[in-house]
């Protein structure tokens, strides 16, 4: 058999720990959110909220993305993953780093604990970046989704480098700049560099695949890459050199144009899809774009408002809205396939095998979808009206949501093949 182009996904034991640990950190995140309910009515620079944000961005978002990326890199680059060892090493370092950072932020232990955590996350990122660069480098086709994947990895490196500098600066001050100003750069390198560009690149490849659509507006994706990077680079340099020169809205606009170009591409893919029925994981993904647009609309409000709550709502819509909704959906477009492949790839055609979508509980997924929408809407509403009771009730819904998600993850991961059902009809 021609072995050159066939999919050689990395073994499941490399990818599964990321998903399992991501689910655990999602549960931790929701519990911390409940315990931080009062902090959500105050300024965003608080130890508890820093712990919540880093649990969301690293423990939840980055953890799952690393796992999914190691599975998908061979698809994107049309070659095998460069190094399985680096992948495992990145998991160990990232998990250890987050386990240091969360308590360091929660109890605000600036010093050894925080710096060690930041250093471990930096090393994990370095392993990830090497794997991405070397996997993408040796391919013949330098496609636009590969470019997004590479640039997002480099932005993650910028983000964690700035984060480590901030952690060191808290204990051993060396920066001449205001800590909050540098934190703004750190946060936006993470959001508009790492998360936005990675999600753009992945969606450009996967959404047409899942919806069976022929992408027509590929020039819009090229424009998206240029605009997203231009906006972010100008924002970082201008803020660094001129110390908040008041042109943030201009750069947000340029970056926003890049997002519009990308969303226009996706809209065209959606409109021309052959597969009319949209399954629940894809619905989760599609609604995430509403939260992204909502977050973008809060930028001018947050920029002009003296109240810090709009900045908090902006961050919340991005982390718990846009990114979380994508992960809650795409987990069920990736994880069941990974586990299914492990159990059934040698049995296909020979005995009755379940479909990957049979590996999770659809009823739980439906509950997850509606509870998620209600939990997010009530949390945002509670923050807008500054009502602690609504925020607390919403946080309880978030814990329930994380429990449902974890239950389905456990069901998929511990799936046992039913070998007695030979030759049975599906």
């Amino acid at each position: 058999m021609n072995d050159i182009h066939i999919g050689k996904a990395p073994p499941a034991w490399i990818v599964l720990p990321f998903y399992a640990t991501g689910a655990v950190f999602f549960l931790v995140l929701t519990i911390l959110l409940f315990l931080s309910a009062e902090d959500l009515t105050r300024h965003y620079f608080s130890p508890h909220l820093l712990a919540v944000v880093h649990t969301a961005a690293l423990g939840w978002g980055t953890m799952i993305i690393f796992g999914a990326a190691y599975e998908l890199l061979p698809v994107f680059c049309e070659r095998d993953l460069y190094s399985k060892r680096l992948a495992i090493l990145s998991y160990i370092l990232l998990t250890a780093g987050i386990a240091h950072l969360i308590p360091a932020f929660w109890w605000f232990k600036a010093g050894g604990l925080m710096i060690t955590g930041g250093s471990l996350v930096f090393m994990a990122t370095f392993c990830y970046v090497l794997n991405v660069l070397f996997t993408a480098q040796s391919t013949n086709n330098h496609l636009i989704h590969q470019r997004f994947l590479t640039s997002s990895a480099l932005w993650l490196l910028v983000t964690v480098t700035l984060g480590l500098c901030l952690a060191v600066n808290l204990r051993y001050p060396f920066m001449s700049r205001n800590h909050l100003d540098v934190m703004k750069l750190h946060a936006h390198a993470g959001l508009a560099g790492w998360f936005l560009q990675l999600i753009t690149g992945v969606s450009v490849k996967l959404v047409p695949m899942f919806l069976i659509s022929k992408p027509g507006k590929t020039k819009w994706v090229q424009a998206a890459w240029i605009l997203q990077n231009t906006g972010l680079i100008l924002f970082l340099f201008d803020n660094h050199l001129n110390n908040n020169a008041g042109r943030d809205m201009l750069y947000a606009f340029v970056c926003g144009l890049g997002i519009i170009a990308w969303l226009y591409f996706l809209y065209d893919v959606f409109r021309n899809r052959l597969r009319k029925r949209i399954d629940l994981p894809m619905k989760h993904t599609l609604v995430s774009f509403i939260f992204l647009i909502a977050a973008l609309m809060t930028i001018p409000v947050a920029h002009h408002s003296i109240s810090a709550k709009w900045t908090l709502i902006y961050g919340l819509l991005l982390l718990l809205g846009w990114i979380t909704s994508i992960i809650l959906g795409q987990t069920f477009k990736t994880l069941p396939f990974i586990v299914w492949n492990e159990h059934y790839k040698k049995l296909t055609g020979r005995s009755s095998v379940p479909l990957p979508s049979d590996l999770y509980n659809l009823r739980i997924l439906k509950c997850q979808f509606y509870i998620y929408l209600f939990a997010l809407a009530s949390l945002v509403a509670g923050m807008i009206v500054n009502n602690l009771l609504i925020i607390r009730l919403a946080s309880i819904l978030w814990i329930l949501l994380a429990g449902l998600y974890a239950a389905n993850i456990v069901k998929i991961m511990f799936h046992q093949p039913n070998t007695t059902n030979e030759n049975g009809a599906r």
């Binding site: 058999m1 999919g7 052959l274 790839k345 055609g349 020979r350």
Partner: protein, 104 residues
């Protein structure tokens, strides 16, 4: 020649048992199989493609092809040859495949 035609029909029916796990449609109706060659007495050569190069489920699909053909023709060795030219496109999906995908 007559035997080839019978074998061909049997192979097509057997290959309908190989389902794309994401699209839930068999590989014949998806139009992934380009050619089935019985010209050599001890082998069956299948020229086929995948909807996505380096698809993580590609191995499962090619294993499925080998499994069903081995069961149907135990005296022959199935050989799967993956090709990317012509590239698979939606136009290759059969009418039955389109119905299964919910395409009007």
């Amino acid at each position: 020649m007559e035997h080839d035609s019978i074998y061909y029909g049997q192979a097509i029916e057997a290959l309908r048992g190989v389902i794309d796990p994401e699209l839930f449609v068999n590989i014949i109706d998806l139009g992934l199989v380009y050619n089935i060659d019985f010209s050599e007495p001890e082998t069956i050569k299948i020229k086929m493609t995948l909807s996505t190069p380096h698809c993580p489920l590609g191995e499962a699909i090619t294993n499925g092809v080998e499994n069903v053909l081995q069961d149907q023709f135990p005296q022959r060795k199935p050989i799967v040859i993956l090709i990317w030219d012509p590239q698979w496109s939606f136009e290759m999906v059969t009418e039955s495949g389109k119905q299964q995908l919910g395409i009007n």
